[in-house]
Symmetry: C2
Subunit: 490 residues, 2 copies
């Protein structure tokens, strides 16, 4: 723990960068655009993984693992896919170093050149559908419902910790189905699985919808997505689920015999969320004092800090604290009793505040005398004296309350920062002055979408799933089926 961080109101971007560093979540590595995820950050990611993994398994999916390298030629097999990913990939061309004959160090051995270059996977559709070709013969082999937890690389030019990094961690689901309907239902189901996770664990409300054609995944017929709103009024795409149609089946010649023996191309989906969710989590709730974590994803939910001047006082406090630790653990609450004497209580308060521990319990000699403790909640910073009697049960209720409060607060923020506009001038004004989600009518053309993007930097985040009222495009006046959601985005 060290210095304070820049205020959000002064420089939101600096606030984020400093918070990530000060809360010990991640840092830049010596390799351009790649990050080191530090233990505190990784512990949060592990909690996310555990919940998501269970949700995937509950919906019938199995984990597997496919190679990190993809032969270059595979990318060319699905035309729009190569277009989408070729410009940002790490290419392996050699498989050996050797001592530098002209001096120090090592050089790439020119004799160890690969016949075909390998791409470090930016996503795995191609290599997975190449396997599915061998795994699928008949309708009996379907559906295939797989997921993999993996690292992927996309050579982004401008990177930011968690939000956009050259290497990131993610899960990618890849499913194969006998019918179009089943594949579409799968893609929609996974969008809802993601939304449930983000809302009920991350305490971040999301909009659900589909992307416009120009924002779709390279190779998909439909991209379902969830979009969250950050405190600076910018949107963040939190997860996507793609209905791939038969595109990859055709590219990799994956057919199955139906019950009548007729050969058909297989239908596919893919879906993913990544360490980008860490960025969303940080930006949705945190404040000028540091990280604020929803209890369900906090590696440590409660910290107990003794206030003592000598060993006798510490001993008396420790007796009570150790019992409290046992009581809290019995309620499945993760708790740390920080009795280090190398740091002062004030330093510890600031440390755990910055790291986002949801509940802090301080115990001093006077508290002991009164059979009580001081309980501070991280989200509202309220402090209250609470009796030791039944404390563990009360803390459990408090943690639930914090979890709930973060979602309610984020919902209120989103409501405040959602606008409905009918003219392009109003649109530009709202975007400039307020930001947030803007519901407006659009004529459905890529040209108008592009024009708005170029003039305002706002993109269509999604077309809502619920049918809306028709109207006229705010830019061209042409007919619009329903309002779509615009925002500037991460």
């Amino acid at each position: 723990m060290g210095k304070g961080i820049t205020k959000r109101s002064e420089d939101y971007s600096a606030w984020y960068n400093e918070l990530v560093k000060q809360a010990d979540l991640a840092e830049n590595s010596p390799v351009r655009g790649c990050m080191v995820i530090k233990p505190h950050g990784y512990a949060i990611w592990e909690k996310m993984q555990a919940v998501l993994d269970q949700k995937f398994k509950e919906t019938g999916h199995y984990n597997a693992y496919f190679p990190i390298f993809i032969p270059k030629s595979y990318f060319s097999k699905e035309a729009s896919h190569v277009e989408g990913f070729a410009k940002e990939c790490a290419v392996v061309t050699h498989y050996r170093l050797k001592n530098n004959p002209q001096g120090e160090g090592v050089i790439v051995d020119p004799e160890a050149k690969l016949e075909e270059e390998l791409i470090v996977r930016p996503t795995s559709e191609t290599v997975i559908w190449d396997s599915y070709k061998n795994w699928i013969q008949s309708y009996r082999d379907l559906p295939i419902l797989l997921n993999q937890w993996a690292n992927v690389v996309r050579w982004e030019m401008r990177t930011r910790l968690f939000l956009r990094t050259a290497e990131f961690l993610w899960q990618e689901g890849h499913t194969a189905h006998a019918t179009k309907q089943e594949a579409e239902e799968e893609a929609i189901q996974m969008m809802h699985v993601y939304a449930d996770f983000v809302e009920n664990y991350m305490a971040v409300p999301v909009l659900r919808g589909v992307k416009t054609e120009s924002e779709r995944f390279a190779g998909a017929l439909e991209t379902y997505c969830i979009e969250a709103l950050m405190q600076d009024g910018k949107a963040l795409q939190a997860g996507t689920s793609h209905f791939l149609g038969q595109n990859f089946a055709k590219a990799f010649d994956v057919k199955f015999a139906d019950k009548n023996g007729k050969l058909e191309y297989v239908w596919g989906t893919s879906w993913g969320v990544s360490t980008r969710l860490m960025g969303a989590l940080i930006m949705a709730h945190s404040d000028d004092n540091g990280l604020v974590l929803p209890p369900k994803l906090a590696p440590t939910q409660v910290v107990i800090i003794p206030i003592f001047r000598n060993a006798d006082e510490l001993e008396a406090i420790a007796e009570v604290a150790n019992q409290l630790v046992a009581d809290l653990r019995a309620q499945d609450i993760t708790v740390t009793f920080d009795k280090r004497d190398t740091y002062k209580p004030g330093w510890k308060f600031a440390e755990y505040e910055q790291k986002g521990v949801p509940v802090r319990i301080a115990i001093g000699p006077r508290d002991l005398a009164n059979n009580q403790v001081e309980v501070a909640r991280r989200d509202t910073k309220e402090k209250q004296a609470m009796s030791l009697e039944g404390l563990a049960a009360a803390i459990k209720i408090l943690l639930d309350d914090i979890q709930q409060n973060l979602l309610v607060k984020a919902l209120a923020f989103r409501k405040e920062n959602t606008s409905y506009v009918d003219s392009y001038n109003e649109f530009k004004q709202v975007l400039e002055e307020k930001g947030g989600f803007i519901y407006a009518h659009w004529d459905g053309s890529a040209e108008t979408e592009e024009l708005i993007k170029n003039e305002t930097k706002a993109t269509i985040r999604l077309i809502p799933l619920e049918e809306g009222e028709p109207g006229t495009c705010m830019v061209t006046g042409k007919p619009s089926k329903q309002r779509v959601v615009f925002a500037k985005a991460y």
Copy 2:
């Protein structure tokens, strides 16, 4: 499920390859030397990960994540490290593809050449110690006890599924300490953590010891290891734990101020196990009918198969089976009730046998009439009728018995295949006719070790931790402090 597999006695190597494929564990990918880990194989690996991860956390370690790419120059910083890894690494030289101006497909964009090439990590000491330099200032920052679960790449020329692949999954622990003693104790502790896991979960007994200098990890002062014996009499290195001394601290200039303010180099360890353990698990227990799994690592511990001729019979069986499923789950036993009517019972029997499910329960109409079921254990293939009364508790005991039996059997096999020899002729004869672990005296020189290796293909697997009786080298007649363990190895 399909064909049978080659017998071990006919062709052990073919047996292994076919088993891995038939049991649906893994297969080769289109990328040379890289494997696809299929759902059944990955589910076993996940169980291994869960147990190991818990053991690491119980011993005070935290997970983190470091980049997959390492700048080329980092490798040259620790001299023996670059010597050990430079010859087998994947090198990223470019960061973009572009459309082929001369025709179809994509080519590497020559303008997108990296200034410094990046190595796909074969292991992460260099990039991690580079971070530690920034994290460590004083003794208060020590120890650092980190682990990461990751993929790594070593460009092996001859690959075999799980045993030796270009890409593999592993965990790598990297710790930093203030004293030599603490680092040595950490390295030894982790060797024991690995040994406990392999013996008590994989049911594979291991020898514990240290490597000779020539077999040490590139950059270590001491490599602790565990060695297991496979059914063909060859040894398999199952895990290593390295005491790094101050080598990487010196290479990356990592110093700390001790309590008196004096600057000292930090002491380090690293330790890892990989998907290679899957190979050990398969080869240690499996038979000519397929995979044999210890219950503690079996994704499905019990399968229930109904024997029925019509829907009425199935319904009656299902009623009993569903209750049994509930009873088994209440005992924390993982169970599948396979009531598919698309496959016959005989087909299912063979399928689950090949996949290594430890216990199979068959229920037919006659069993129902007698209030009993037929229980078959995979390890010994014994079948017995068991009463439905108290069956779940009896199955739990049976699973423990299978777990125990596999270890006892493997211990007996190792005992049978362990020899003590005193002359080089006898050594060669035992190695040729019997294989296994051979305890023999060696003069401690790299030359003699090399000579034996060249002449017999046997290597010194380890120097046992327990002190042994002195003697004279079987090759040179020079003094030997204690017997060391030789074997041919994977």
